[in-house]
Amino acid sequence: MYSEKVIEHFRNPHNYGRIEKPDGIGRVGNVVCGDVMYLYIKVEKEVIKDIKFETLGCAAAIATSSVVTDLAKGRTIKQALEIDNKAVVKSLGGLPLVKIHCSLLAVDALQEAICDYLSKNKKPIPENLKKAHRRVQKSFRE
């Protein structure tokens, strides 16, 4: 049911753990549905220098978290905001249809972390990011 890449990321997830004093945190998901992701970023000169995640969830949730951190690491904030769930799914060599929502969740987590970073540093937040933030906050429950 899962691709080899999903299993590989699930077996040996990249960048898991916590960053002490992060510049931004994204918390998304819902324990009732089964998946909760925390994503931490460390930013230097608008570049994501370090990124880590913590995820409670299925294999797909862990694999998408892992892959989104790979995709965002070393990128500028602007570049990171361009990462969408299609890129996540592609990097994983596909996801079962019922697990596509995990890739959306991973992208939400990244965007939330960036949104948190921008707001803490009093930087302008793009309109679509604000909108996404309101949507994500509505469903978040831990």
């Binding site: 077996r11 324990v31 009732v32 089964g34 409670l56 969830g57 299925c58 797909a60």
Partner: protein, 400 residues
């Protein structure tokens, strides 16, 4: 890599003795039980012998056993067949539009093939009551009594839970139904889905006041494709499959003799080995429970001892069941989970929520089911890997 199968509640490997018993019925004794000639007679004779063996394991008479193709079919036949037989006859035809005057009671933790059949019947107008269970998954017989109305025609309660292993007080429920039937001067039938318990623990349909019972071959080291419904003599039931009139007209279809022969052989072995196997599995199961509960934040699901010898279920805080089951699979261990993430509907198991688990708790559930090939070293290998995997998944999880 090691391969350890601990999902016997899903299905079991066919016992080699069963396979051997079945072998001649594919190309040598291949006759159709309905044929007049010697091939047919030979098949018919074997079928009736098999019927006797299966009936014997539940204290029934051979003519009270209807062979079917699956437990799902048996359960459908039990609910729909009893209901259809109760419909009023108008101009020699049963009228389906009168279904709304009839009532069926089931428990909240039935297998989907009872649950979905009941849901379908409800859509046709039949009244359905789903009796809740307590935190151990037990039905209170008094709740069954309270739910009975003058319209009640059937009560169907699962014997041993496929998900949590809890065994219902079937004998007490049977007695309650019998007495309330007498009080109401009507006959309320009692059906039990004994798929996980038949061949595993003793069952006596007379002692337990059971009118209908479903049993399945592939859960007890027999082949897939054979199951049965016990229907007590004089219980009126309508067939679902009409045709050549096999099984006393109650289940038309060419008889799947090799599978039925295998089913009967499995029953014969179960009868002989049940006592020692119950003892062996109960001991293994209790050891397993003790060892698993040593893992921090682990919880047993279902009743402490009113449970099948072969089914155990746990939930673990801060981990998700699909991840757990998949990581165990990568270590060669096959188990199952009631987590939403592993289901097509993305909903947690209704059995687990019925016993009061919150969805987030049900997500962390794991069912381990033992069988004839299970040895203590298998369970040690499981526990060792389980505790390592849980530790790792909690490292990844935001909650610890």
């Amino acid at each position: 890599m090691k391969e350890i199968y601990l999902d016997y509640a899903a299905t079991t490997p066919v016992d080699s003795r069963v396979k051997k018993a079945m072998a001649p019925f594919f190309s040598e004794k291949f006759g159709n039980t309905m044929s007049l000639h010697s091939f047919g007679q030979e098949a018919e004779l074997a079928l009736e012998q098999a019927r006797k063996t299966v009936a014997d394991l539940m204290g029934a008479k051979p003519n009270e056993i209807i062979f079917t193709g699956s437990a799902t079919e048996s359960n459908n036949l039990a609910l729909k067949g009893i209901l259809f037989a109760k419909l009023p006859i108008h101009k020699n035809q049963r009228s389906l539009i009168f279904m709304d005057g009839l009532h069926i009671i089931i428990s909240a933790i039935e297998h989907p093939c009872i649950m979905e059949t009941a849901n379908w019947l409800e859509k046709q107008g039949v009244k359905i009551t789903r009796i809740p269970v307590d935190k151990d998954g037990l039905v209170n017989p008094l709740d069954v009594e309270k739910a009975v109305t003058r319209e009640t025609i059937l009560v169907s309660i699962i014997h041993g839970s496929n998900e949590i292993g809890t065994i219902q007080p079937i004998e007490k429920i049977g007695a309650v139904i019998k007495s309330v039937s007498r009080k109401l001067k009507t006959k309320i039938y009692f059906h039990t889905d004994a798929v996980q318990s038949f061949g595993k623990i003793p069952i006596d349909v007379n002692k337990m006041n059971i009118d209908l019972l479903t049993a399945s071959s592939h859960k007890m080291s027999g082949p897939k494709g054979a199951a049965c419904l016990f229907v007590r003599k004089d219980v009126k039931i309508e067939p679902l499959l009409h045709g050549g009139g096999q099984e006393e007209g109650l289940r038309s279809s060419t008889v799947n003799l090799p599978a039925i022969i295998g089913f009967a052989k499995a029953c014969e072995i179960a009868k002989r080995e049940m006592k020692s196997e119950v003892r062996r599995l109960t001991k293994l199961r209790n050891k397993l429970i003790n060892k698993v509960l040593k893992i921090p934040n682990s919880h047993l699901i279902g009743h402490q001892n009113k449970r099948l010898p072969q089914i155990v279920s746990f939930w673990f805080s801060f981990v998700e069941g699909e991840s757990l089951a998949l990581r165990l699979d990568l270590k060669g261990i096959a188990v199952s989970t009631g987590s939403a993430c592993s289901s097509i509907k993305l909903e947690p198991s209704y059995v687990l929520t019925a016993i009061g688990l919150k969805p987030e708790q049900a997500h962390g559930s794991l069912r381990i089911s033992l069988g004839r090939q299970t040895e203590e070293s298998d369970l040690d290998y499981l526990v060792d890997n389980l505790s390592k995997i849980i530790k790792k998944l909690r490292e990844i999880s935001p909650f610890k």
